[in-house]
């Protein structure tokens, strides 16, 4: 089962910060562990909230606002997608993730919706 690990409230050091190299090495070691177990699907760090733009369409009109959808104290910093045996493995890896020591990680299963086609365009094109 695939799980998304949503990383909240975790400051990311920038290149040039004194702890950047160490932090990068630890995050890479975490990804190595995920690959070693064969569960790594992807990891997606996000730009900070000040870059967020929110879109909603009402009555056919796209409404665009500056900022994240919810003004809360919980800042989504990125996500991993891991293909784990069960929730135990996903929780175990979330606890191994270095970001869990600073922020918090929400583990959510990815749902299989029958008939939903989310294959990348190139695959769809070649299969025709």
């Amino acid at each position: 089962m695939q799980y998304m690990l949503l990383i909240y409230n975790c400051e990311r050091p920038e290149p040039g910060d004194p702890d950047f190299a160490e932090s990068l090495a630890r995050v890479n070691a975490f990804a190595d562990e995920c690959r070693r177990r064969g569960v790594f699907v992807g990891g997606h760090p996000l730009q900070p909230e000040h870059t967020a733009t929110t879109v909603s369409v009402r009555d056919g009109k796209a409404l665009i606002t500056d900022g994240p959808f919810a003004e809360t104290h919980e800042h989504l910093g990125g996500a991993y997608i891991l293909d784990c045996r069960n929730l135990d493995e996903a929780l175990e890896l979330a606890a191994l993730c270095p970001m869990a020591e600073v922020g918090s990680i929400e583990v959510r299963p990815i749902v299989g919706v029958p008939g939903l086609d989310h294959s990348p365009a190139s695959v769809a094109a070649t299969s025709e």
């Binding site: 089962m1 069960n86 135990d88 175990e92 029958p114």
Partner: protein, 413 residues
Amino acid sequence: MSPVPVLQQVYGEHRGRMLAALIRVLGDFELAEDALQDACTLALRKWGDVVPDDPIAWLLTAARNSAIDRLRQARVRREKLPQLAGQLAIESTMTDIGADSLLRMGDERLSLIFTCCHPALAEDARIALTLQAVAGLTAAQIARRFLVSESTLAQRLVRAKRKIRDAGISLEVPADHLLPERLSGVLAVVYLIFTQGYTAADDQPEHRTLRQEAIRLGKLVATLMPDEPEALGLVALLLLHDSRAAARYTQAGDVILLADQDRLRWDRAEITEAIGLLDRALRLGRPGPYQLQAAIAALHAQAPTADETDWPRIAALYAELLAVEPSPVVALNHAVAVAMATTSEEGLALIDRIDGLDRYHLLHSARADLLRRLGHTAAAAAEYRRAHELATNPADRRFLAHRLHDLDRQESR
């Protein structure tokens, strides 16, 4: 025997195992429960004059067939209404539901207990689910015992069961490296169930059954995991607590302290059983918090009178418990045991070093008690007053008021 009592007997005795096996193969609590219910309904209709040779096998096969029917119906509905989908995982298990694989299964109750006590579920959901799925209590019974409405409790159960299914909570006994932590989670749930039946001042039959369920659950875990000394230790501890249940309160519901209890009212059979289990646990050579607490309770249980209590050994056991499970409450119990084993001054000095229990009434009443023994009546009265302010349980408050009253009388003499 006619079919109805046979069905009642088989269901009563084997419900847990049948349900556990069905949950394991179906991967879905609600489907398993519905299927077992269908099987029983069918048995009532079909068994007529002749009860099958192996009623359990018959029920499991019928439940399996009903589950397959229910899954088919769900698929038909889903094909008509594609937006109702989302049960792909269940469908893929359908092919695995062989009748013989179900009948060949061993005891699946252990994995069921671990699933019900999974840390990804809220604590109240773990308790409710364990009592329903493993112990076989109805939602109404659990709701009554935990003083919540039946609909709240039913909701809690449904949500937990769906989370288990949809979040991929494992239906197996956890992997070895997770086992110690997860087992202590299971034992904690059993202990919480017991406590719920032990803390109320009025000893209603409902409380007794809750304690018995907890002891039964603890024994089930200890039987299924015979090499786990903490499971045995927990059962011993629960039995020792339970052995004193009848002696803990006066008829009027007032607290009777351990030292003042009528020891003839302690349940000797439970004490003997507990000590046997504790010996077995200790022989495994891996002491832990439950075994240490049981050893302490056993020393109290074995003392013919309060004055003959082996306080030096109790103090030493509390010191060991403090080392493995440091907590201010354990430190307080240790201090009191030291006071009893040595002098009140030493006990008071230890109490003064405890942090974080300033609002705990038992800390103040312990201090009051030691001050009283040392003849510091005014200081003792002040501590009893503070304890009385902080206590919330009516029986505790009455007890502290009595103590205060006695002290005032002493002083005015």
